[in-house]
C-alpha cells in the first residue's frame, strides 16, 4: 500500500509537471501565433478590431486559455479517470447499486452542460467589458497632461467608474450563473447516495448483498463524488476559457487581405513612382482621395502640400499599402504594388510618419530598429538628421535610454531620431510626413541641405506645412479635399495656383496679423 502511494505521488507530481509544461508550451504558442497574426493584419482590420481589444485578447484572453488548459489536464484528465474507475469498481462489486448511482449522472451532465453553454456568452461579455476598461486606461495615461490641465480628473474618475461598474456587473452575472452548478451537482450525487442506501437495504434484506459491501461501496462513492466536484470546478474555467478562445479564434480566422496579385508582364521603369487614377475611401462611403495622378522618377523630390485632412497622409498610406486603393493603381519601378509582397515593397522605403513610434530602448537601438546596420551607418544617419549635436550632449550619447513613446526628449529631438531611423538604411525611396514641424527654421534648413547632398539618387516624397520645406522639390502637388488642385514646380504654382500663392505669401516674411 505504501509503495503504491509512493508511486502514486511520484506519478502525480510528474503528471502535474507535465501538465504545467503543456499548458505553458501551448499558451506560449497561442500567444505567439496571435501576435504574429496581429503583426500581419492590415490597417483596415486593425482599425476595425481596435488596439485595446487586440491588446486584451493578447493578454487576458490568452491567460484565460492558459488556465483552462492547465485545469483541464490536471483535473479534466484525472477526474474522469477516477470517475470511470470508481464506477467500474463499484459496478463489479455491486452492479445494481451502481446503476442507482449512475442514474443521477444524466441529470448532472445536463446541468453542467447547460450551465457551461450559458456561461460562455456571459464570459464573452466580461471580456468585451475588459476591452473598454483597457481603452479608458490607455486614453487616460496618454492624455494625463491635458486631463490635469483641464482639471478633469474627477470627470475621468467617474467615466472609469461607469466602466468599472459595468465590468464588475458582467463578472458578477457570469459568476452567479455558474455558482449554481456545484451545489446542484452535490445534491444530485447525494440523492444518488441515499438511493444507494435504500436499494442496499432491500438487497441486504433479501440476502442479495452484505452490509460490508455497502460500506465499501460508500467509500468508492466518495471517490466518485470528489471526482465530480473537481469536474464542476473546472467548468467555470472552461466556460471562461472557451469564451476567450473564441475571441482569439476570431482574430486568427481573419482572412488575409492585401492579397498579392500576379502580374507577370509589366514595363520596368527603374526608380519611378506612379499614381494612376487612384481613388480611395476609408469607410467605403465618401472618397478620401479622388483621381490622383502623378509620376516621379528616380532621384526626384515630390512635395505635397494641402489643408489639414485633405488626404496627404492617405497618399502615403496607400503607397506603403497599409490600405488597398479603391480604383486605379500605384506603380513603383513600373510594377503594381499589389503584385509585390509587403516585405519586398516596404524594403524600398525609409519613412517618418506623424506621431511616430519610439520605444523604451537606447537611441541607437531606436534608430537601428532591428535592422542589420553598422554603427557607422547609424552615426552617418544621425549626422544627416542634424541630431549629432544634441545626442553628443547627452551623457551616454547614442546609448541614452529613451522612455516609452520617447517622453524624455523634446518634440524636435524625437523628430530627428526618427529621421535618423529613416536615413540609416539608405533607402531607395524616402518618405517624410511632416517630419520636421518641430524643428526650428535653421535646423530645418540644414536638414534639407544635408538630405540633398546625401540622398542624390533617392526618390523623396515630402509632406509639409511649410512652403520652405518643399519649395525646391522637382514637383509639388497641392491637395484639397482629396483632389489635386495644383501640380507643378514652385515657380509654376506661384503663377497658376491661387491657394499655393496665398500660402506662400503668408509664410514668406508675411505677418501673423493680416
Amino acid at each position: 500500500m505504501i509503495i503504491c502511494s509512493i508511486i502514486g505521488v511520484w506519478g502525480n507530481i510528474t503528471a502535474n509537471r507535465m501538465a504545467s509544461k503543456v499548458a505553458k508550451d501551448s499558451s506560449e504558442k497561442i500567444r505567439h501565433d496571435l501576435f504574429e497574426k496581429i503583426s500581419y493584419l492590415s490597417s483596415k482590420q486593425v482599425d476595425r478590431v481596435t488596439i485595446p481589444s487586440l491588446e486584451s485578447r493578447l493578454t487576458t484572453d490568452t491567460y484565460n486559455v492558459h488556465r483552462m488548459i492547465g485545469m483541464i489536464q490536471r483535473m479534466g484528465v484525472r477526474a474522469p479517470i477516477l470517475l470511470l474507475g470508481g464506477i467500474i469498481i463499484t459496478f463489479i462489486m455491486e452492479p445494481y447499486l451502481t446503476l442507482v448511482l449512475v442514474a443521477t449522472l444524466p441529470f448532472i451532465t445536463a446541468i453542467v452542460y447547460r450551465k457551461a453553454t450559458k456561461g460562455i456568452p456571459l464570459y464573452t461579455k466580461v471580456q468585451t467589458a475588459t476591452d473598454d476598461m483597457i481603452r479608458v486606461v490607455r486614453e487616460n495615461v496618454a492624455g494625463i497632461r491635458v486631463i490635469k490641465a483641464l482639471s478633469k480628473v474627477d470627470y475621468e474618475k467617474n467615466r472609469y467608474d461607469r466602466i468599472n461598474r459595468k465590468l464588475v456587473d458582467k463578472e458578477k452575472q457570469a459568476g452567479i450563473a455558474m455558482a449554481v452548478t456545484n451545489p446542484l451537482m452535490n445534491l444530485f450525487l447525494n440523492l444518488g447516495l441515499t438511493g444507494v442506501i435504500l436499494a442496499g437495504a432491500y438487497r441486504v434484506n433479501m440476502g442479495l448483498s452484505e452490509t460490508g459491501k455497502i460500506i465499501a461501496f460508500m467509500t468508492y462513492f466518495t471517490l466518485i463524488s470528489n471526482a465530480m466536484m473537481s469536474i464542476s470546478r473546472i467548468f467555470v474555467e472552461i466556460s471562461k476559457g472557451i469564451a476567450s478562445a473564441d475571441r482569439i479564434g476570431e482574430i486568427l480566422n481573419i482572412p488575409a487581405d492585401l492579397i498579392v496579385l500576379d502580374e507577370k508582364e509589366f514595363k520596368r521603369e527603374e526608380g519611378s513612382i506612379i499614381f494612376d487614377h487612384v481613388s480611395f475611401s476609408y469607410n467605403g462611403v465618401k472618397n478620401n482621395l479622388e483621381n490622383i495622378n502623378f509620376r516621379i522618377d528616380k532621384g526626384q523630390t515630390l512635395g505635397i502640400l494641402g489643408a489639414t485632412g485633405c488626404g496627404k497622409t492617405t497618399i502615403l498610406q496607400l503607397l506603403l499599402r497599409f490600405y488597398d486603393v479603391k480604383e486605379g493603381s500605384i506603380r513603383i519601378n513600373g510594377k503594381d504594388i499589389r503584385s509585390m509582397n509587403n516585405k519586398e515593397l516596404r524594403k524600398l522605403f525609409g519613412i517618418v510618419m506623424q506621431n511616430d513610434f519610439l520605444y523604451a530602448d537606447s537611441i541607437k537601438e531606436n534608430i537601428r530598429f532591428g535592422r542589420d546596420l553598422s554603427d557607422e551607418q547609424i552615426n552617418q544617419a544621425i549626422k544627416v538628421a542634424q541630431a549629432e549635436e544634441f545626442i553628443s550632449n547627452l551623457e551616454k550619447g547614442t546609448d541614452h535610454i529613451l522612455t516609452s513613446r520617447g517622453t524624455n526628449i523634446s518634440g524636435g529631438q524625437k523628430q530627428r531620431i526618427l529621421l535618423s531611423r529613416a536615413f540609416a538604411a539608405n533607402p531607395e525611396i524616402l518618405i517624410l510626413d511632416d517630419s520636421s514641424s518641430a524643428l526650428d527654421y535653421k535646423t530645418d534648413a540644414n536638414l534639407r541641405k544635408a538630405i540633398k547632398e546625401c540622398f542624390k539618387d533617392t526618390t523623396t516624397i515630402i509632406v509639409a506645412q511649410r512652403i520652405s520645406s518643399i519649395m525646391h522639390a522637382d514637383r509639388i502637388l497641392v491637395l484639397e479635399e482629396g483632389k489635386i488642385i495644383g501640380d507643378g514646380t514652385h515657380d509654376e504654382l506661384i503663377k497658376n495656383c491661387e491657394l499655393y500663392k496665398m500660402i506662400e505669401s503668408t509664410q514668406m516674411g508675411g505677418a501673423f496679423v493680416d
Binding site: S5, V9, N12, I13, N16, S20, K24, F35, E36, I38, Y40, D47, T50, I51, E55, L58, M133, I134, R135, V137, R138, A142, R145, A149, S151, K152, Y160, N164, R165, V168, E171, G175, P183, N186, L187, N190, Y202, V204, N205, M206, T211, G212, M218, A307, T308, I351, M353, D356, A360, R371, F390, S404, N408, Y441, K442, A445, Q465, I467, I503, V513
Partner: protein, 586 residues
C-alpha cells in the same frame, strides 16, 4: 532585499488584504454563518448514512426499514438545505469579491490620476494595464474561490475531526499522527514558491508592457518590415513570462500530491487499526464506515488547501504589485490654507526659478520674467531649450526647486491646483482626444456648455464643416486613436476646446504646428479673439506667429538669453535676430 524585510512586506500585504476584507464585516459574517450552516449539514450527512447502514444490520430479512427510511429522509433533507445554503453562500461570496475588486480597480485608477505627470514618463501603459487587469483579477479569483475554500475547508477539517473523535478517539489519534508532517512540508514549500510567483507577476507585466508598446507602433513596424524582429523579441518576453509562470505553477502543484501522499499513509494506518478495533469489538462496522468517510472528508480540504496555497501565493504577489502602485507618492496635496484663484487678472511673474526633473540635473537655472495681464508672451528657442518645461511649471505639473512663480501675486504653491489650472486654457502640441463624441471632446473642460456654444467654437476653429460631414455630426464617436481624423483636425478640435473654456490665461504650445498654413490663416482672427484680453504664453517655431508678442523670451539651454519685443531684439542683432534671418536664407 533582505529577508526580514521580505517577511515584513509579506505580512504587510496580507494585513492590507485582510483590512480590505474587513471593510465588509457584515457581508463576511453572513457568509461565515452560511458557511458554518452548509458545512455542518454536510458533515451530518455521513453520520446519518452510517446510522442508516447500522439500521440495515447484517442479517437477511431483519432490516429495520422504518429506521432506514427515517435516516434516508433526514439525509435528503439535510442535503437539500445544505445545497441551498452553499448556493446562497457562493452567490454572496461572489458579490463580496466583486465589491472588493471594483473598489480596488477604482482606487488604483483614481490613484493613477493623482500621480504627478512625471510618473508616466517612464512607465509603460501596458504595465499599468497589467496591474489593473491581471493582478487585480488574480486577487479577485483568490478572494472568491480560495478564501471560501479555505474557510469551508477549515470548518470541514475541524468538524470532521470532531466527528472522528466522537466515533473513535483511538482511531483519530492514529490518523492525526501524520498531520504535522503535512503542515511542515506545506509551509516549507510555500516560502520557497513565493518569489516564483512574484517573478511571474513581474514577467507578465513586462510582456504586457511590451505588447502594448508594439501594438501602438504597428504602422512603423510594418513600414520598416520589422514584423519578424518584433515577433522575435516578443517571443523572448513571452518565453520568459511563460517560464516564470511554469516554474511557479509546477512548484506550487507539488504541494497537493505530497500532502495527499502523507494522508494516504494515515489511511493505511487507520485501516490496520480499524480492523484490530473491530475484532476487539470496540467499534461497529457502521462507525468504521463513517470514520473512513470523515477521514476522507478531512483529507479533502487539506489537499485542496495545499493546492490553494499556491493560488494564494500568486494573489499575494499580485497584491504586492497593486499596493506598490497605490503607495507611489501622489502630487503634493494642496496646502490646507490654499486659496482658490478667482477672477484671475493674469499677472504672472517668475523670480529666480530653478528647476530640474532630476533633482541633481537642473534644466532651468535662473528664470525671471514678468507677464502682465492681457499681454502676450512668446517663448522662443531651439528644440530642447526648455520651453515645454516652463509650461509644465506654469501649470504646476511640477514644483520649482527654488525661486517662485506667482499669479496675481499669489505663489502658485499657495493656490489650489484645480483653480490654478482652470484659469488657463491650453492648446498643446500633443493633441489628445478621448473615445467620446466630438461634442464631448470639445466641451471637455467646460461644464454645461450648450450645443450652440460648441458649434460656434467649432465654426471659429474651422472644423465645423468637417464635423458636419461625419455620419453623426457632433455626435460621432471618435474611435480609439482617432482613426480617420488627421493630426491637424485633432488640433483644430483642441483649439475649439480652448475657445470654449472660460479662462483668463492661455497657453499655446505649438498650437497650430499640425494645421496647414491656409487653415491657420483662416482661424487667425479666431485665434486673435481667443487671445484677446488674456495673458498668453505662446510657444512657436514660426517666428511670424510671434513677432507681435508684447514680450519675447529667447531661451537657450534653460536660460533666458534675451528678452524684449520683436523690434528691440532685432536691433540687438543677437541670437533672436540670427534665428529670424535664417528663415530667409536658402
Amino acid at each position: 532585499m533582505t529577508k526580514p524585510k521580505l517577511i515584513k512586506e509579506k505580512r504587510g500585504t496580507l494585513l492590507r488584504l485582510t483590512k480590505i476584507l474587513f471593510e465588509h464585516k457584515i457581508h463576511l459574517i453572513i457568509a461565515l454563518v452560511l458557511m458554518i450552516g452548509a458545512n455542518t449539514l454536510a458533515l451530518i450527512g455521513p453520520k446519518l448514512s452510517g446510522q442508516a447502514i447500522d439500521a440495515i444490520g447484517e442479517n437477511i430479512g431483519q432490516v429495520n426499514f422504518s429506521e432506514v427510511y427515517k435516516y434516508c429522509l433526514l439525509m435528503i433533507g439535510v442535503y437539500v438545505i445544505s445545497s441551498i445554503l452553499s448556493y446562497t453562500l457562493s452567490v454572496s461570496m461572489i458579490r463580496l469579491s466583486q465589491k472588493i475588486t471594483y473598489k480596488m480597480r477604482q482606487s488604483v485608477f483614481d490613484h493613477l490620476l493623482d500621480l504627478p505627470v512625471g510618473y508616466f514618463n517612464d512607465t509603460q501603459i501596458g504595465e499599468l494595464i497589467s496591474r489593473i487587469s491581471y493582478d487585480i483579477d488574480t486577487i479577485n479569483t483568490s478572494l472568491s474561490n480560495d478564501l471560501l475554500q479555505i474557510i469551508t475547508g477549515s470548518i470541514t477539517v475541524i468538524g470532521s475531526l470532531w466527528m472522528m473523535i466522537t466515533l473513535s478517539w483511538q482511531l483519530t489519534l492514529v490518523f492525526v499522527i501524520t498531520v504535522p508532517i503535512s503542515i511542515a512540508f506545506a509551509r516549507y514549500k510555500t516560502t520557497k514558491i513565493r518569489p516564483l510567483f512574484r517573478n511571474r507577476s513581474k514577467k507578465l507585466g513586462e510582456l504586457n508592457g511590451f505588447s502594448e508598446e508594439m501594438l501602438s507602433g504597428q504602422k512603423t513596424i510594418k513600414a520598416y518590415n520589422q514584423e519578424e524582429e518584433i515577433l522575435r523579441r516578443f517571443d523572448e518576453k513571452n518565453k520568459d513570462a511563460m517560464q516564470a509562470y511554469y516554474e511557479a505553477d509546477y512548484q506550487g502543484s507539488m504541494i497537493g500530491p505530497s500532502v495527499n501522499f502523507v494522508n494516504n499513509l494515515s489511511l493505511s494506518l487507520v485501516s490496520v487499526f480499524g480492523a484490530l478495533l473491530y475484532l476487539a469489538s470496540s467499534i461497529s462496522l457502521g462507525n468504521i464506515s463513517s470514520f473512513v468517510l470523515y477521514s476522507r472528508k478531512f483529507s479533502g480540504p487539506i489537499n485542496e488547501t495545499a493546492n490553494i496555497m499556491s493560488e494564494l501565493q500568486s494573489a499575494l504577489a499580485a497584491a504586492e504589485r497593486v499596493f506598490k502602485l497605490l503607495d507611489e507618492p501622489i502630487e503634493i496635496k494642496d496646502k490646507e490654507s490654499a486659496i482658490n484663484l478667482e477672477n484671475t487678472k493674469g499677472n504672472v511673474t517668475a523670480e529666480h526659478v530653478q528647476f530640474g526633473y532630476d533633482v541633481d540635473k537642473l534644466i532651468i537655472h535662473d528664470l525671471n520674467f514678468e507677464a502682465l495681464s492681457g499681454k502676450t508672451v512668446a517663448i522662443v528657442g531651439p528644440t530642447g531649450a526648455g520651453k515645454t518645461t516652463i509650461i509644465n511649471l506654469l501649470m504646476r505639473f511640477y514644483d520649482v526647486n527654488s525661486g517662485v512663480i506667482c499669479v496675481d501675486k499669489h505663489d502658485v504653491r499657495n493656490l489650489t491646483r484645480k483653480s490654478l489650472r482652470k484659469s488657463y486654457a491650453m492648446v498643446l502640441q500633443d493633441t489628445w482626444l478621448f473615445g467620446g463624441t466630438i461634442y464631448e471632446n470639445i466641451s471637455y473642460g467646460s461644464n454645461n456648455a450648450t450645443y450652440e456654444q460648441v458649434i460656434e467654437c467649432a465654426k471659429a476653429a474651422h472644423i465645423h464643416n468637417y464635423i458636419e460631414q461625419l455620419p453623426q455630426g457632433y455626435d460621432t464617436a471618435l474611435n480609439d486613436d482617432g482613426v480617420n481624423i488627421s493630426k491637424g483636425q485633432k488640433q483644430l478640435l483642441t483649439i475649439a476646446r480652448a475657445m470654449l473654456a472660460d479662462a483668463n490665461m492661455l497657453i499655446l504650445d505649438e498650437a497650430t504646428s499640425n494645421v496647414d498654413s491656409r487653415t491657420e490663416m483662416l482661424i487667425q482672427n479666431a485665434m486673435l479673439k481667443l487671445m484677446e484680453g488674456k495673458t498668453c504664453f505662446v510657444i512657436a517655431h514660426r517666428l511670424s506667429t510671434i513677432q507681435h508678442a508684447d514680450l519675447i523670451l529667447v531661451l537657450k539651454d534653460g536660460d533666458i538669453i534675451e528678452q524684449g519685443n520683436h523690434e528691440s531684439l532685432l536691433k540687438k542683432k543677437g541670437f533672436y535676430a540670427s534665428l529670424y534671418n535664417s528663415q530667409f536664407e536658402n
